[in-house]
Symmetry: C2
Subunit: 226 residues, 2 copies
C-alpha cells in the first residue's frame, strides 16, 4: 500500500515561474475562513499552496452547491471576469499566495509561454468540469462518491495503486454539497462502500481503499450489479 506521505516529494506545481518580479504575498486561512466573496473585484488570483479552498454558491432558500475544490497547485480566479462570481473559503487550514491579476496578465504579452501555460491550465479545468457534469447529471449517489474518492486519489498521485491510505480532510457536508447530495446520502454511500469491502474508515478523516479495481468499476459505471 502506498502512503500519502511518500508521494508528494516533488511538491505541488507552483506559479513562481509566472514572474519572479511580481510581488506575491502569502496568506493563512483557518477552516471556514473566507478568502473572497461574490462580487469582490478580481484584483488577485490565488495559488493554493497548502490545504483546500472551496468556491460555492448559496441560494436564497439555503441550498448550497460547491462549485470546485482548489488543492495545492491550483489557481483560483482566472475563470472570473472583473468580479468573483462565487464565495471562496478554506475547508481545511490552508495557505495561499496572492498574485496581482494585472501583472500576471501583462506578463503574457512579454512571455507568450505564460499564456500557453495558463491556457493548458484552463483546458485542464474545463476537462475536469466536463467529467464532473457527467457525475452530477447521470451517476447514482454511490457512483458519484466512488468517482469523487477516485479523483481525490488520482490528484494525490495514487491512481495506479491497488490499495491506498490517505487523509481525507473534507467533511461529509462539503462532499455532499459538491456532489449534489445530502450528508445522510453521503454517509450511507460510504457505509455501503465499507460493507462491500471496497473501503475502510479507521477514522472519519482517514480513508483506506482496499480494492481500487472495484472502486474504479463503480466510478466508471461498469459495475455488474449496482
Amino acid at each position: 500500500m502506498m502512503s500519502a506521505a511518500a508521494a508528494r516529494t516533488d511538491g505541488p506545481a507552483n506559479f513562481s515561474w509566472v514572474n519572479p518580479a511580481v510581488p506575491a504575498s502569502e496568506r493563512h486561512l483557518e477552516t471556514h475562513e473566507p478568502l473572497v466573496h461574490e462580487g469582490d473585484d478580481t484584483h488577485y488570483f490565488y495559488e493554493v499552496l497548502e490545504g483546500i479552498v472551496s468556491s460555492y454558491k448559496i441560494f436564497a432558500d439555503g441550498r448550497r452547491q460547491i462549485v470546485s475544490f482548489a488543492f495545492p497547485g491550483d489557481l483560483i480566479g482566472f475563470s472570473q471576469g472583473n468580479t468573483y462570481r462565487y464565495d471562496c473559503e478554506a475547508i481545511a487550514p490552508s495557505r495561499v499566495r496572492a498574485l496581482p491579476k494585472t501583472s500576471l496578465l501583462r506578463s503574457i504579452r512579454e512571455r507568450p509561454e505564460i499564456g500557453e501555460k495558463l491556457l493548458a491550465l484552463a483546458a485542464a479545468e474545463v476537462a475536469y468540469f466536463e467529467d464532473h457534469s457527467i457525475n452530477l447529471g447521470r451517476k447514482s449517489a454511490l457512483e458519484r462518491i466512488a468517482s469523487f474518492l477516485l479523483n481525490i486519489i488520482e490528484r494525490a498521485g495514487f491512481g495506479d495503486a491497488e490499495s491506498v491510505k490517505l487523509q481525507l480532510p473534507i467533511s461529509r457536508l462539503d462532499m455532499a454539497d459538491f456532489l449534489g447530495l445530502t450528508i445522510e446520502t453521503v454517509s450511507r454511500s460510504m457505509t455501503k462502500l465499507r460493507t462491500r469491502g471496497i473501503i475502510e474508515l479507521p477514522q472519519t478523516t482517514t480513508l483506506v481503499v482496499s480494492n481500487m479495481d472495484r472502486l474504479r468499476d463503480l466510478a466508471e459505471c461498469d459495475e455488474e450489479c449496482p
Copy 2:
C-alpha cells in the same frame, strides 16, 4: 417582442483572426452526423459556424450525458489533450471550420494576443461549466429547464427583453441528456411552464417566452412558491 432574426446582424464571433495563413477547411454536418469520436487524435479544433454540435458520453448501460452544446462562434477541442475525450455530433444541420491544432498553438508564440484571446475563451467556458454544475447539482427539474431556456435566450442576445420568440432546434431528448433528466420530465416541465403562463409553444421547436421575469425567478431559484 424581439425576433430572432433581428439580433444576429453582427454575426457570431469567428476565428479568422487566428492566422489568415492557416489553411481552414469547412465541413457540413447533417443532424446526428458525427464530427469526432472519443479517442480520435486532436489534429483539429473546430469552430462552429452554423447549427449546434454536441459532445457527449454514453455509458456501457446506455445512459447518456451531453457535456456541452457548441453554438456558432464556439470552439470545439481546446479542452482536450492529444485525443478527444468525448464523441461530438451535430444535433441540427451544421457547418464547422477545421483549424489545424498545431498551427493554432504555434501562432500563440508569434502573437501573444492570440493566447490571451484563447485564454479568455477558456475562462468563459469554465465559468459556464461552473454555473452548469450548480444547475445539475442543486436545481429541480423545473428550475433546470428554466435556467436552460434562459441561457439559450441570453446566448442569442435577447437576455434583456421582456418577451422573446425564437427557434429552439433542440429535441427533448437532447435537452434531457444535457440537463440530467428524462424526456418525460422535460416534457412535463415544459407543460408546467406553459400552464403557468410563462411560455408558449406554438410548435415544439418554436419557443415564446411571454414572461421573462418569472422565467428568471425560476432559474435563479427566487420563486416564492415553486
